[in-house]
């Protein structure tokens, strides 16, 4: 383990923050305050936490349709994030994006996208830009097991490899794409197996263990900053809830669900942090209370914010020419 105590605290905080945020979202959704659909990040918190903890503020992430966790972990303003989910004018996208497009560019989020796998080429382009601008920025690109079957996956791995771009492909393999188990759609079961064909080093980690994710990411970031090119990290993880809003996820075998529920990302990193003397039980509680307050405040802010005026639908189609 090459993580110091400060890092363990950081990992705990990020993991827990995402957890609390998503629980609040689930709660608000239950109160019918969130329009449309939702893809909760509950269960996968360690991935976003581990990856973003290894990045600088000036580094980038590319998110997906399951994006709340990525954005919050990267340091999003939670008020603006929550308000966006509720479709409020104060949301980071002024209510135009919602859950599937929750994006805060100023903390390094390139975007959240509703089209599965469509963020991968964009991440590659941002990495190309970092390289051409000699900015020494790194891009972490999140996507799912299902996304790995889309054409842009191979195209993007290849382009990143030939140009040795500073991009890290983070596969969140939660074993399902909606209701489709990975065993029906991926012959190798490991997405990582596909990286070698493009000469990209890959590794498979426990995606419920923020420390493991962090350590793998640190290595990949180092490689990227040295100009050695892309890496792929496959994080095995699991959704605590269904795919989306109304999915009871009955298609998952109970033993499988049970197994993964026992691997709670927050508990795992908490245990590590305590065992390594980075935190005491009491300190973890203090952190939890503080974060809970932040999240509650964000929900409050969102609820109290106004909806955009209808005619605002006509704004923002184009950036103004100056």
């Amino acid at each position: 383990m090459n993580a110091d105590k400060k890092t363990l605290v950081d990992l705990y905080k990020r993991t827990l923050k995402v957890r609390l945020f998503e629980e609040k979202v689930w709660d608000l959704f239950g109160q019918n305050l969130i329009p449309g659909t939702l893809h909760l990040y509950l269960g996968q918190e360690a991935v976003a936490a581990g990856v973003t903890a290894a990045l600088k503020k000036t580094d980038w992430i590319q998110s997906t349709h399951r994006g709340h966790g990525h954005v919050v972990a990267k340091g999003a303003n939670m008020n603006a994030a929550m308000a966006e989910l509720l479709g409020k004018k104060t949301g980071s996208c002024k209510g135009k994006g919602g859950s599937m497009h929750i994006t805060q560019f100023d903390v390094g989020v390139l975007g959240a996208t509703g089209v599965v796998a469509s963020g991968i080429p964009i991440a590659v382009g941002a990495a190309l830009s970092a390289k051409m601008r000699k900015a020494n920025e790194v891009v972490a690109c999140f996507f799912g097991d299902g996304a790995s079957n889309n054409g842009t996956f191979g195209e993007s791995l290849n382009m990143a490899a030939i140009w040795k771009l500073p991009v890290i492909f983070i596969v969140e393999n939660n074993l399902y794409a909606m209701g489709t188990p990975i065993k029906l759609t991926c012959p190798s079961q490991d997405i990582a197996a596909r990286a070698e064909g493009y000469c990209i080093p890959s590794t498979v980690v426990d995606g419920n263990n923020a420390l493991e994710v962090y350590e793998a990411t640190v290595k990949a970031v180092e490689r990227a900053r040295k100009g050695e090119g892309p890496s792929l990290i496959e994080c095995k993880t699991y959704r605590m809830r269904g795919h989306s809003r109304f999915d009871p996820a009955k298609y998952r075998p109970p033993e499988e669900v049970e197994f993964w529920m026992s691997k709670d990302a927050v508990e795992i990193i908490k245990k590590i942090a305590i065992e390594n003397g980075a935190l005491t039980e009491k300190e973890t509680e203090k952190i939890r209370n503080k974060l809970q307050k932040e999240v509650d405040k964000a929900a409050d802010f969102a609820i109290k914010s106004d909806y955009p005026a209808p005619e605002e639908a006509l704004e923002d189609v184009f950036a103004e020419v100056n």
């Binding site: 449309g36 919602g98 497009h101 889309n150 794409a177 909606m178 489709t180 955009p308 639908a313």
Partner: protein
């Protein structure tokens, strides 16, 4: 005759064709056992016909359509589903360059009997990537037939015709019609392509619209009738082939036309209809053909924004009043 939802009627049509012809099979993402389609249209069919004929696929839109093409030209009758119409952007090559052109560019050697089902439209607050209406792209692609059923009765008859057609058929649905109910015969019936339906007769103005806009137009017609304005409402049912005759005849009778769709205005199907009617019935028009469409923006998420985006009854009524 039993009442059933559009969803049920569509499923019934698929079921009948699968029973009738073992070459018919369905493929798409999450259409099978575990989900039954994002809008539950195929729910139960995998149980009934097996997972080979109701085939879950990886998230590979272009290859789903391409595989359907390959299956179609070698003797099967695939019905490929693209989960949301917005995602057909990923399959445009296989739809528009391969499926649509193959019969022509190979000089008629082989027909391409396949159906691509997908769903358009807003109203569910799921934002820019899951709410578009892209019919116009396909109407501008020679070699494709296009069905746009808005009613439960039609969807059953049209899906059956689509499956039996030897050409690629784009079968477009709309998120908000699935729950609409209507009396639907249990026995078999087919609805020919290229026959519009006059849903309401009227004398003062013709309204031509698609999907939810047909339903809204009918309600508007009802309301305007009270003010003494007599509105004829036409539902094209298929865009390719397009029933020009029924529309032109109606316009020759009423002298006025409003065209309505949920598409963004510029370059929409409604533009084609307006252009065609003024070209073919200029002397009968007493007023310009009025278009009612969504504004030229992506589809926004937040309810007040999306409600503003989607044409409502008031806008339809206003357009009618402007020309009568």
């Amino acid at each position: 005759m039993p009442e059933m939802t559009y969803r049920e009627a569509l499923k019934q049509g698929l079921r009948e064709e699968m029973q009738r012809d073992e070459r018919v099979f369905l493929m798409g993402e999450d259409i099978g056992l575990n989900w039954g389609g994002a809008f539950k249209v195929t729910k139960g069919l995998a149980e009934e016909f097996g997972v080979e004929r109701v085939r879950d696929t990886p998230i590979s839109e272009n290859t789903i359509v391409g595989a359907a093409v390959g299956a179609a030209i070698t003797g099967l009758r695939p019905v490929a589903e693209i989960m949301f119409g917005d995602l057909i952007t990923l399959a445009m090559d296989q739809v528009c360059n391969q499926a649509a052109k193959m019969h022509y560019m190979f000089g008629g050697q082989r027909s391409v009997p396949m159906v691509i089902r997908t769903v358009f439209g807003g109203g569910k607050n799921i934002a820019s990537h899951h709410s578009q209406s892209l019919e116009a792209w396909f109407m501008h692609t020679p070699g494709l037939k296009i069905a746009v059923p808005a009613f439960a009765y039609d969807v059953k008859g049209l899906i059956k015709t689509a499956i039996r057609d030897p050409n690629p058929v784009m079968f477009f649905e709309h998120k908000l019609v699935y729950d609409k109910k209507e009396e639907v015969p249990e026995e078999e019936y087919l609805i020919p392509f290229g026959e519009a339906k006059i849903r309401r007769e009227g004398a003062d103005v013709t309204v031509w619209g698609t999907f939810i806009m047909v339903h809204k137009s009918l309600e508007v017609a009802e309301e305007l009738a009270k003010e003494g304005i007599s509105v004829e409402v036409i539902d094209p049912r298929t865009l390719a082939p397009l029933d020009k005759k029924t529309l032109i005849e109606s316009v020759k009778k009423t002298g006025r036309l409003v065209v309505v769709s949920e598409e963004t205005k510029t370059g929409a199907v409604t533009a084609e209809i307006a252009a065609m009617v003024q070209e073919e019935a200029f002397d009968w028009l007493d007023a310009p053909v009025k278009r009612v469409n969504a504004p030229d923006t992506p589809v926004p998420f937040s309810p007040p924004l999306e409600n503003f985006f989607i044409p409502d009854k008031e806008r339809i009524a206003r357009a009618i009043r402007e020309i009568v």
